[in-house]
């Protein structure tokens, strides 16, 4: 699979094929989770596909495996088995090529507070090999779009959470990636900044980008996502278009119904 094959909106651009990931539990973790087993299955033979020009939402409770899945897609960690393909490149065999195609934003990845947004944008642009003139034009456009130009020379450590989130967002897409992966993109943001971010996600979709986001905010999924995958205990329990998953109900009701069926308990 090569990138050029996915030129058309609606073509499959991310394919996750039965990935499994287990983690060794430390003594402390075992105590917290009240378990005697040494390993925990975070993701269990999980599969889904995302398409060009669409937003795919991974919905699930805390500890369901959403972040682990996104970390595998972003090549930070490798699956124990299975594989995932981004623009046809394997995250297991060709992680270097995958990194060129994706932009990843998560609260786990931080920006060095010593530097200014202006410097960090250039730095990450250079790391992605973005041409000088292109980088300059892109910085102007994105900084203006997010109002970063007002504090572009202020050190990141002196900025508010919302401002930092905006910088993380623009830095993650400095190289204009085909696939954008966001882990809880509106977490900790005030309503104004959250709106700026969600509007931008819609803009990216309009530009033909493919977006995968994890969240547990139903309204965000209903507002933005074209397709939804519900993950519970590391497994995909439902995957399809928003309409298919909701089946005429609200997403919230469908989620709790599915959750009750899978876990055998009513919430």
């Amino acid at each position: 699979m090569e990138t050029e094959v996915f030129a058309e909106v609606g073509d499959e651009i991310v394919r996750v094929e039965g990935i499994t990931k287990t983690f060794t539990l430390s003594r402390k973790q075992k105590k917290i989770e009240k378990t005697a087993v040494d390993r925990k299955v975070a993701v269990d033979r999980l599969s889904f596909s995302a398409y060009k020009g669409q937003i795919y939402g991974l919905l699930g409770p805390n500890g369901a495996g959403k972040t682990t899945t996104l970390r595998i897609l972003s090549t930070l960690i490798k699956p124990d088995s299975g594989d995932a393909f981004v623009c046809g490149q394997s995250v297991v065999k060709e992680p270097q090529k995958v990194r060129d195609k994706i932009g990843f934003m998560t609260s786990e990845l931080k920006l060095d507070g010593f530097f200014t947004p202006d410097y960090l944008f250039d730095f990450f642009g250079n790391l992605h090999g973005v041409d000088g003139e292109v980088l300059k034009a892109r910085k102007k456009e994105l900084f203006s779009r997010f109002g970063i130009d007002r504090f572009s020379e202020v050190r990141v450590k002196d900025l508010s959470t919302g401002m930092k989130q905006k910088i993380s967002l623009v830095v993650s897409i400095v190289h204009d990636p085909d696939v954008v992966i966001f882990d809880e993109p509106t977490n900790g943001l005030d309503v104004l900044t959250a709106k700026v971010v969600t509007d931008f996600l819609a803009e990216l979709r309009a530009m033909g980008k493919s977006i995968i986001l994890s969240t547990h905010i139903f309204s965000l999924v209903e507002k933005l996502c074209d397709r939804v995958g519900i993950i519970i205990d590391g497994k995909t329990v439902t995957d399809g278009t928003l309409q298919e998953v909701c089946a005429g109900e609200t997403l919230e009701k469908r989620f709790f119904d599915i959750y009750g069926e899978v876990k055998g308990e009513t919430v």
Binding site: Q96, F104, L109, N126, G129
Partner: protein, 381 residues
Amino acid sequence: MKLIALMKKEFRRFFHDPRLIVTMLIPGLIIYLIYSILGDALWSKEQDTYSYKAYVAGESRLCEMINTAFGSDEFLIPAADEETARKEVEEGKADALIVFPQGFDEAVNAYVPSPGAKAPQIKIYYRAADTQSSAFYAAVTGILSAYEDSIANKFDIVADNFSSDSEIVGSVLGGMLPFLVVIFIFAACMSITLESVAGEKERGTLATILITSAKRSHVALGKVIPLSCISAIGATSSFLGVALSMPKLMGMNVGGFIGSVGFLGYFLLFLLILSVVPLIVSLVSVVSTYSKSVKEASAYTSVLMIITMVLSIVSTFVSGIGNWVVAIPVLNAVVCMQGVLTGSFSLWQSLVSVAVNIAFTALLVFAIAKMLSSERVMFGT
């Protein structure tokens, strides 16, 4: 391009933070000031030469020997009255009284050591609690013992000191300086590498770099090269501080010492230091990459520093270390630096040591790159 971007970031992080610059340069300056002030105080006191006052009662050719040793034909004052002179010593008005019995020289000539024969005796009155008095006693007994040995053995021992100031300084510095240099390099490397590698890992800023398309080897080199350059500045500052102030501390001539090392010596010293800096930076980087936090990395690095210190001390005090030492990183540089400073260096040994250190650095950089790719190391999974 990506490697340059990574290196520039580290340089910017350092050179735009005045606190880091001061932290790096200040140890050398402090060492220079402290050692210089200490040396000045020590040697200016020494230069206000203390004038001994010593009486002699009786006659002997040994008086001439003692006078010569103390630089004056009239150093020993003939005691007009032995009892009065003894009292002066007791009261601290004089440092010592040496009493030769009558006919001492003749008795010495006639003396044949045999069972029951009584050897001629010299009496010395002094005050052991008084620094100057006991120093004089030690000096005189040294002279007399030497004389006693020479006549008993029927040998004349002719001693002459051919060592110049610079050689004495070289000998002392040769032992001490390499050890100190390695410690200073370690301290300089530790202070910035722990923060730059373990600190970035702990804060999550290193992972942000890892999701870019920069190669892991570039990320590793992007740390090791600039951190080595910065550490070299700190190490050079400390080295200059010690090298320039140590001769002062020992009351020797700085110029003479510098001249005795020579151009090749300095070049080799520089080369050896340059080979040790990236090696230690890489070593601390490996530990920092492995550790989960700066605190954990500091604990591991302290152990490494102690091992390095012990090795350096051993090489300082153990003579006759074989050529095999070139195979041991860091220690090889310490031994070679000692050779350069004492004027007994081997060019091939120094160059091989540099090559060995560079090879070990390359291996460690490779290990860092591997560790950056390991999710178990980077994310503890």
